[in-house]
């Protein structure tokens, strides 16, 4: 049975390790600052005992004020999971670091998130639209998207 690790516990660990990185930790998820996302992710992936070697999925949610990025991590070794979140602000040019170097599975997902939300992933080797064509205007999954492209 997959154990869903409490965000509180991991949040505590992360707070010790990366002071100031964790914004909020609740039972379900850990919310970290986007600047320290990469470090936290690397820590989560490489630390023994955590070993989050599997990125179950990655997506974003549009909350008007900010985009919340959701990373669902799993460890095939210990059979546990956790949810990592980060936020990025601004609707014009939101940027978050890319985790594609850690989990190659993020490749298409980040491109898709970019495509549909317009969130740029810094460090992604091939940051371009994936499901929509290159000349497409706007990002459809944003809440304020209207079909005429505004």
């Amino acid at each position: 049975m997959t154990v869903s690790l409490s965000g509180l516990e991991i949040g505590k660990q992360l707070k010790e390790r990366f002071p100031g990185a964790v914004v909020e930790a609740n039972d379900q998820a850990v919310l970290v600052k986007s600047e320290s996302l990469l470090d936290v992710a690397r820590y989560l992936k490489d630390t023994t005992g955590l070993d989050f070697d599997y990125l179950a999925f990655l997506t974003a949610v549009d909350y008007y004020d900010y985009f919340e990025l959701v990373y669902r991590l799993a460890s095939l070794k210990h059979n546990h999971t956790m949810t990592l979140k980060t936020r990025c602000y601004g609707r014009e040019n939101p940027v978050v670091p890319s985790v594609v170097k850690l989990w190659k599975g993020a490749d298409f997902q980040e491109r898709e998130t970019f495509d549909l939300f317009g969130i740029k992933f810094e460090g992604h080797p091939n940051m371009k639209r994936i499901v929509l064509w290159d000349g497409f205007k706007g990002h459809p999954l944003r809440k304020d998207y209207l079909s005429d492209g505004n």
Binding site: Y54, T83, K104, G105, A106, D107, I130, P140
Partner: protein
């Protein structure tokens, strides 16, 4: 003996017989060898995730059918489970069992197509796929019987099923369970030991264990690489903890292993079906609250082992009648990430084979 030329660009697809939908590989070729490849897709993009935000929770079930159209039942199952998890609905025993039966039948049906198409890509001229479609038809008959459709079943509902199974379903299922193992054996005889197939698929397109994990592969692709990871076992949902079955794994993650894993999974599904059939209880097929309108605020991730891997629905609710956000973790989409790594360095014929062995469904990838 590869003939080398200067590199040239070859568009494999989107109108190619073996790209399983409208999928395109922009391959840079050196003679017959692929030196670089970029997958291009999106021809089927319908914005299902956006549509979900504008539909009621139950109204979206029929759209999940259109995701992975070869395993609609699994999609229904995953979506309903996720919503039920969010709403805190506990479905009845009978419903769980019927769902499991449907999901496993769907797995067999889908794997039949996967294997058949894989062998067809390998060049076995239509025979395996025709045989396997015949078996699939039998399963589709069963589905038609319960849901009234042969492809987009729209059978499950949040909180249960749309209708109970008709009384002629169980005898037919028994008959199917009795016949099917022998057919699978026969298909195994058809090509499993075939020298040409072995030559073509063994050692071709190896996806090493570490890469498979790193690339978030799941389902038969991951298992063929030797990772014993099956949501049904590691995170048993529904009533899967009541069944005995094995997780077949491959030795090295080549095309042959992926083919073998799928065939073995069909056998395991039959085992589960047999047990589920025996344990199937009576009672209601749905909970009294069928139409949950306003779901509590929160978020949930419900995932099942779909035929192609981990199918998950990440749903954020804001207490309105529709999901605030519904993300679909599509297994084919993530498995496809592995394609480039596997294909580069192989010949075009191998590329087709490797692509076939991943077994993607474009409806799910483009969403």
């Amino acid at each position: 003996m590869a003939i080398k030329t200067e590199p040239f660009l070859l568009n494999i697809g989107p109108q190619h017989p073996s790209t399983h939908g409208v999928f395109r590989m922009r391959a840079t070729m050196d003679g017959e060898v692929i030196v670089d490849m970029e997958p291009v897709f999106g021809y089927l993009h319908r914005g299902i995730e956006k549509l979900a935000e504008e539909r009621t929770y139950n109204g979206f079930v029929s759209l999940t059918d259109r995701l992975d159209y070869l395993s609609s039942m699994s999609n229904n199952f995953a979506y309903c489970m996720a919503v039920e998890k969010l709403a805190g609905i506990k479905v009845t025993e009978r419903c769980e069992y019927i769902r499991v039966i449907m999901a496993e039948l769907q797995r067999i049906a889908s794997h039949l197509i996967a294997v058949g198409a894989f062998l067809n890509d390998c060049g076995a001229f239509m025979t395996p796929i025709v045989y396997m479609i015949r078996e699939r038809e039998k399963i589709l008959d069963l589905f038609e019987m319960v849901s009234g459709q042969r492809l987009t079943y729209n059978y499950m509902r949040v909180g249960g099923l749309s209708q109970d199974i008709p009384e002629e379903f169980l005898p037919a299922l028994d008959k199917f369970l009795e016949q099917m193992p022998r057919w699978i054996d026969e298909y195994d005889q058809l090509l499993r030991q075939n020298e040409v197939l072995l030559a073509r698929s063994r050692g071709v397109g190896i996806l090493p264990k570490e890469t498979a994990i790193n690339i978030s592969a799941s389902g038969p692709v991951l298992r063929a690489s030797g990772v014993k990871w099956d949501i049904r076992k590691v995170d048993p949902y529904s009533v899967y903890d009541r069944f005995e079955f094995d997780i077949p794994t491959g030795a090295c993650g080549d095309c042959y292993d992926r083919y073998r894993v799928r065939v073995e999974e069909m056998r395991q599904s039959l085992r589960i079906l047999g047990q589920a059939r025996k344990q199937l209880p009576g009672g209601e097929f749905q909970t009294p609250v069928v139409q949950p309108v306003h779901l509590p605020v929160g978020e949930v991730y419900g995932h099942i082992e779909s035929t192609r891997g981990e199918l998950g629905f990440y749903i954020v609710s804001d207490n309105s009648i529709a999901p605030y956000r519904c993300h679909i973790r599509a297994p084919s989409f993530l498995n496809l990430t592995a394609l480039r790594d596997m294909v580069v360095g192989w010949k075009i014929a191998d590329a087709i084979l490797i692509f076939g062995s991943i077994d993607i469904v474009m409806g799910e990838i483009d969403r």
